[in-house]
């Protein structure tokens, strides 16, 4: 009998479907990714059993840090641009077109508006090294800038959702100032960011 020559198998696999899938996923993630905004301050949110998830877009966050500083953060470059323009004209900040452009690319603010122009003129690294003093929320001295941030944020984006992100060790008076400001700006419904906690109640 003649020897049957075994057909040699070449150990290759068709990688095309895998590559297809790979690139599909890459495209998907590229489109949907929203990069985490840089941390303004280290915030440890208090734990609660709330299960509601915060939608990704249309948020304006008031961040309150442990050392009682108040920050403001909003998404959407276009909205921030409108916000910048409004604040500029209200406070006569003298910001130029390019300043506002820079303003619209910032992920968060935590300083007196009067120092905004000077802050924006700094380089990225200098900005990072600048200690943010927090937005003034002082009702007594008639210097509640947070109220203006909130009002103009709502003008810039009427669908905006106000979110409070406070550190668990923040003193209550600061939180009260923030919530009072929100109520004064006719924001009666807002959200508090919390951390997960198992509900031990059966």
């Amino acid at each position: 009998m003649a020897k049957i020559k075994m057909k040699r198998h070449i150990p290759t696999i068709d990688m095309t479907p895998m590559v297809d899938l790979g690139f599909l996923l890459v495209t998907f993630f590229m489109m949907t990714t929203q990069f985490q905004p840089s941390e303004l301050a280290t915030i440890t949110t208090p734990r609660a059993t709330a299960q509601t998830k915060l939608p990704e877009a249309n948020n304006a966050t008031v961040v309150v840090s442990k050392d009682n500083r108040v920050f403001f953060r909003m998404d959407g470059t276009k909205n921030l641009k409108t916000l910048g323009e409004k604040l500029n004209s209200k406070y006569n900040l003298g910001m130029t077109e390019s300043d506002i452009e820079k303003f619209s690319h910032k992920s968060g603010f935590g300083l007196d508006l009067r120092g905004m122009k000077q802050f924006l003129s700094l380089t990225e690294t200098q900005q990072k090294n600048t200690a943010m003093s927090g937005i003034p929320v002082d009702d007594d001295n008639n210097n509640n800038q947070l109220a203006d941030w909130i009002i103009y944020a709502r003008i810039a984006n009427p669908d905006v959702r106000l979110v409070v992100k406070g550190d668990k060790e923040t003193n209550y008076p600061v939180i009260k100032k923030v919530t009072d400001t929100l109520v004064r700006c006719n924001v009666n419904k807002f959200y508090l960011i919390t951390d997960t906690k198992e509900n031990t109640n059966s």
Partner: protein
Amino acid sequence: MAEINTDQKQKGGEKGLVKKGKKMSTRIDMTPMVDLAFLLLTFFLLATTFIKPQVMNLILPEKNQDNSNQPKVNEKNVMSIVLEGDNKVYWYIGLTNAQVNETNYADTGLRKVVQEQSKANEKLTILIKPADASTYENLVTTLDEMAINNIQKYVLDEYRDEDKALIQGFTGGVRTAGGNS
């Protein structure tokens, strides 16, 4: 490529053989591309903000300049929870001659109290009064207890002098007179 192909065909024609010349493999080594694709995939996977933060709803009443319009509630139906500094919680029913009780934020503390009191009195309205010394965490924990126990009627109230006096009377070791025990 096209030129090479025609070349090969001509060669084949010259020889007059049916057997084609050795075909150039059209396969390309896709390994580097796959490597890159998965590298990118991993990067975007990691960079994506996967964890959407969890939120708790808070609805505050409008600031009312006119106090006369406020609804009047029988003080027997009012339970005050006072959040003090150092993670201390005090609670009492009513205001005049109220008996102050101390509790804590544990599951067996505040939650039990709220459960019992809301079961005992259906008309119960809870006032949360955070003192200046309390922290944000205390407030959120208390609000969370309201959500857990499904309390509909609760208000975030102000810490007033009356409350301060009551708490001081309690912590000073003096029980307020008339408290039913």
